[in-house]
Amino acid sequence: MDIFLQQVLNGLVLGSVYALVALGYTMVYGILGLINFAHGEVVMIGAMVALTVMNAMAGMGTALPPQIVLAAAVVTAIGVCMALSFSIERVAYRPLRRAPRLAPLITAIGVSILLQNLAMLIWGRQYHTFPRIVSATPHNIGGASITDLQIIIIAVCAAIMTGLLLLVHYTRLGRAMRATAENPTVAGLMGVNINRIISATFVIGAAMGAVAGVLVAANYSIAHYSMGFTLGLKAFTAAVLGGIGNLGGAMLGGLLLGLIESIGAGYVGDLTGGFLGSHYQDVFAFLVLVLVLVLRPTGLLGERVAERA
């Protein structure tokens, strides 16, 4: 029972981050019908930029409290990622809005490759240590341990997701986003500036992704140029699991996927008599994806994709 609770807690931490990143994918897919492959790399760049800022500030020998340093790093990361995502949409995706389906998909893959390798050039191939800002002393809850950092991760993700829901349902921008996601042509006729809304969608997703990147790097104390890819893929799986285009679905899907992965990795050895070990963890995400798409393609909460004119 101990291990189960531990796995659940781990799963919640993992799942919160998945949910945050999944929202970025699901919002873009809901409006454009495009899998933004580059999103995972944007998350990674958020982590790397934050790392650079923190190292730079430490290097300058300032006596600022670590929380300020972290805040500065996160704000910079958010800014960079927003600008990056905005540019990607403008340069690589916008010209292809009317092209056959295959074209933006291939371009997205190209952007992903480009970003990953640029990151490798800028930050090198090595694994960077992410500074420990928050204490790592574990608290004991019913036999399982959870650190301050992990609690913060869950709390931050929850706060951001709540903020997003409030934005989408109670603001003018949110209303415009929902209208565009429903039917871009009609929304345009009603006076919504479609291009601006689409840019906003990308930018908001990127901001959340940047925070997610920092959280992941802090959790594992590692930042690396390849960390975005698998994370992105799994987050997309989570979005599909919950119902693509559906915000609540992305959150639910993220949490579920985190739990499935965590519990699965913990128990798969026992379940298969030692045949499969926990290094099959990644396979779980893919298996979930395949199963969901084959058995219930609209996801748990139903999909919401725009009617393309």
């Binding site: 019908g33 495009l34 899998i35 690589a92 010209p95 292809l96 009317r98 092209a99 056959p100 389906r101 295959l102 074209a103 933006p104 998909l105 291939i106 371009t107 893959i109 190209g110 952007v111 992903s112 490759i113 480009l114 970003l115 990953q116 390798n117 640029l118 490798m120 050039l121 893929l233 997309f236 799986t237 599909v240 030692g274 045949f275 499969l276 070990g277 290094h279 099959y280 990644d282 396979v283 995400a285 893919f286 298996l287 994806l289 395949v290 798409l293 084959v294 393609p297």
Partner: protein, 365 residues
């Protein structure tokens, strides 16, 4: 350029000229390995051999993506299946040493089987979902290959399988050097001819498929699946056929790869390989048999070219190497994909109809 093409077209009408042209091409292809060997070196013959393998892969993926319009991002899985089938049946790993004319069809068959297994539940998904699922499948295959070394050692895990038997024809080991009629053939030369024959045969098969009842069915499905169904096409089976044929090509290429290299490991079958082959198809000219072969030859030789030029050039210009060839190659890939899709989506050498298809879309923007 246009007049040169026009004169070639004029040549087509003169049947004798056509045959002379064919003979010329055949002669060039026959002596090519020797020309390269004696000018730029043996390594480049090996590079050419690998390029021909990639041409096989590109032709296979072209059936799936180019003809039938199904985006497969995990094509490398079939390559891996073919490669490991050969490795398991012709190496010390399981102690089996079956001859090549048994293993190659077997590898193709196993790959085709995997194609059907993967395709059956997934081909009804819409385009982007199919892409992700196939991507996942490719990764799953790689992870299994990487981990099936315990509790029972089947694939030897990340270390891979080596000492794989080479192709042996009439007792002649094709990876060794032999002399015939006073001419020295190296392993690379032998494999060049084998791969070339297969590549030409594959092109022949693809060209015939394209202009046939099945080929039309594939293109119809690509254009409008609902209409195709309503016109009596069993879309599920026809799509499965495309998948299975693509997988077969991949499986054959995989087996050849195993025997040529003498060694396989999961490292050779990463996602990047799938994307590379997709690049070859897209950049070369999606759906155009000659175009994808061109794409394959270009992209397969590019890394080697970069390796030999990028570092020295950078040394000259900057005094040190900023971008190592590997990163440079990947950067260029990413950039190339984006630029081609934005500027010339029909590819470098598109079939005439495809160029019109993309051109009209551009006008609509």
């Amino acid at each position: 350029m246009k007049t040169w093409v026009a004169s070639l077209v004029g040549l087509r009408r003169d049947r004798r000229a056509l045959w002379v042209g064919y003979a010329l091409v055949a002669f060039v292809l026959a002596v090519l390995p020797f020309a390269i060997d004696n000018s730029i070196g043996r390594t480049w013959v090996r590079v050419l051999d690998f390029a021909l393998l990639y041409a096989l892969l590109a032709l296979g993926l072209n059936i799936v993506v180019g003809f039938a319009g199904l985006l497969d991002l995990g094509y490398v899985a079939f390559y891996a299946v073919g490669a490991y089938t050969w490795a398991l049946l012709a190496s010390p790993q399981l102690g089996l040493h079956l001859p090549f004319w048994v293993i190659l069809p077997l590898g193709a068959g196993v790959a085709a089987l995997f194609g059907v297994l993967l395709g059956a539940p997934t081909l009804r998904l819409r385009g982007d979902y199919l892409a992700i699922v196939t991507l996942g499948f490719g990764e799953i295959i790689r992870i299994f290959l990487n981990n099936l070394d315990h509790p029972v050692n089947i694939t030897n895990g990340p270390i891979g399988i080596n000492r794989i038997d080479p192709i042996q024809i009439a007792g002649i080991d094709l990876t060794r050097n032999h002399e015939f009629f006073g001419i020295a053939f190296s392993g690379a030369h032998f494999h060049y001819y084998v791969f070339l024959m297969l590549a030409l045969a594959s092109m022949f098969v693809c060209i015939r498929l394209e202009d046939s009842r099945i080929g039309r069915a594939w293109i119809a499905i690509r254009e409008d699946e609902v209409a195709a169904q309503s016109m009596g096409i069993n879309t599920r089976n026809v799509k499965l056929l495309a998948f299975a044929m693509g997988a077969t090509f991949g499986g054959i290429a995989g087996g050849l790869f195993s025997s040529f290299q003498g060694f396989v490991s999961p490292e050779s079958f990463i996602l990047l390989e799938s994307i590379m082959v997709l690049c070859m198809v897209v950049l070369g000219g999606m759906g155009h048999v000659s175009g994808v072969v061109l794409g394959a030859l270009l992209l397969a030789t590019l890394p080697e070219v970069l390796r030999h030029t990028a570092s020295p050039v950078q040394q000259q210009l900057f005094g040190k190497v900023i971008l190592d060839p590997e990163s440079l190659r990947m950067l260029l890939f990413g950039l190339a994909l984006i630029l081609v899709m934005l500027l010339r989506p029909s590819g470098l050498w598109p079939s005439p109809t495809r160029r019109r298809e993309f051109a009209d879309t551009k006008e609509q923007r």
